[in-house]
Amino acid sequence: MPEIRFSGVGHRFGDRTVLDGIDLTLTEPRLGIVGGNGSGKSTLARMINGLITPTSGSVSLDGLDTTAKGREVRRRVGFVFTDPDNQIVMPTVAEDVAFSLRKSQLGKREIAARVTASLRRFGLVDHADHPTHLLSGGQKQLLALAAVLITEPDVLVADEPTTLLDLRNARMVNDLLASLSQQVVLVTHHLNLLGGFDRVVVLDGGQVVADDSPASALRTYTGLLT
């Protein structure tokens, strides 16, 4: 698995310290990040693919610094956002998945074949020509995942991908995440999703307050809430 390394990472938005003194080396296949609102977990997740760069310290993926080599890092790190509506670019389902391959050297037929295979995998093949805005919330999130995973990234970072979904759709997305061969970093409020994970990091006030197995880390997290 790739190695994601945070070395003395801090981040400030104006006067507000969002992250402070983060030192983490993440190599496990399934990693969870939990914390309350404003704890810094989304900022931490966005640092993995260089969407946000640290104001102190450094973040790297297999030695590639996310500040200096942001584009190279982003080619290896797929990112799924909370609201899929903000991630879908094209008006129809197949076109949106194909958009991810527009800069590949593949021919039109090969792209079409890969898009069809991807949509079949994600249960969207019957919706290939549907307008994206008419999909259900769960289908939109599956589309967002399909569009990211068709580029075969080494790491998938998902920032609360189930927050806007009902239980059934959340389970569908969760099952899909569980089936991936990639390293998955999942930011979530749905603690039950982290059961089979290898490691869970708990953030509070921009600092790591627990970094342990899911059971132990989640005990710490629920302790923070009481």
């Binding site: 584009r71 080619r75 903000n86 991630q87 670019v89 800069k103 020509d129 805005h133």
Partner: protein, 199 residues
Amino acid sequence: MTVIGLFHPGNSALHRLSAGWKLLGMVLAVTAVLFLREPWQLGVAAVVTAGLYAIARIPARVAAAQLWPMRWFLLLVAIFQLIFAGWQPAVMVCGSLLLTVAVAALVTVTTRVTAMLDVFNRLMQPLRRWVDPDRSGLLLALTIRCIPLMVDIVRDVSDARKARGAHFSLRAMAAPAVVRALRSADALGDALVARGVDD
């Protein structure tokens, strides 16, 4: 639901025809409509357009959905023309407008947005020293994509305004709608970077 982006999948001759030819045909057809002078000519053009919809195997409800949003506008134009110009100009003006939209919609429902963007991209090539064709194409795609997003935002804000009893407050409508639109734009920007648009 918006008219834009309603590609209707199919395998008809019109679906298979390249987007460039369809757009050229549309320009010629719309120009021809502007030169129609008699109601019977309009009738012939309407039959030809209906025939093209039939060739493309576009269901009547899909075809009607393209024209339905024009109903109030056409009604206003018709009333205005009837009062100030008479029935024949009213028929010609409304019929021409309806035909023009029908022809444009036929291109929309038989052509994928990506195919249109490819044409746009090719047309922009001579200007590539000054304008990035890829970026311009993406801008067009995003514009089309953002229409339903904006409709959703405005609908949500409007519902929230009504729920809070501020039915007629323009500020209660505009301020949150603009804030949400800007937030969405920000998030979309992040997503575009994450999806490698900057590469």
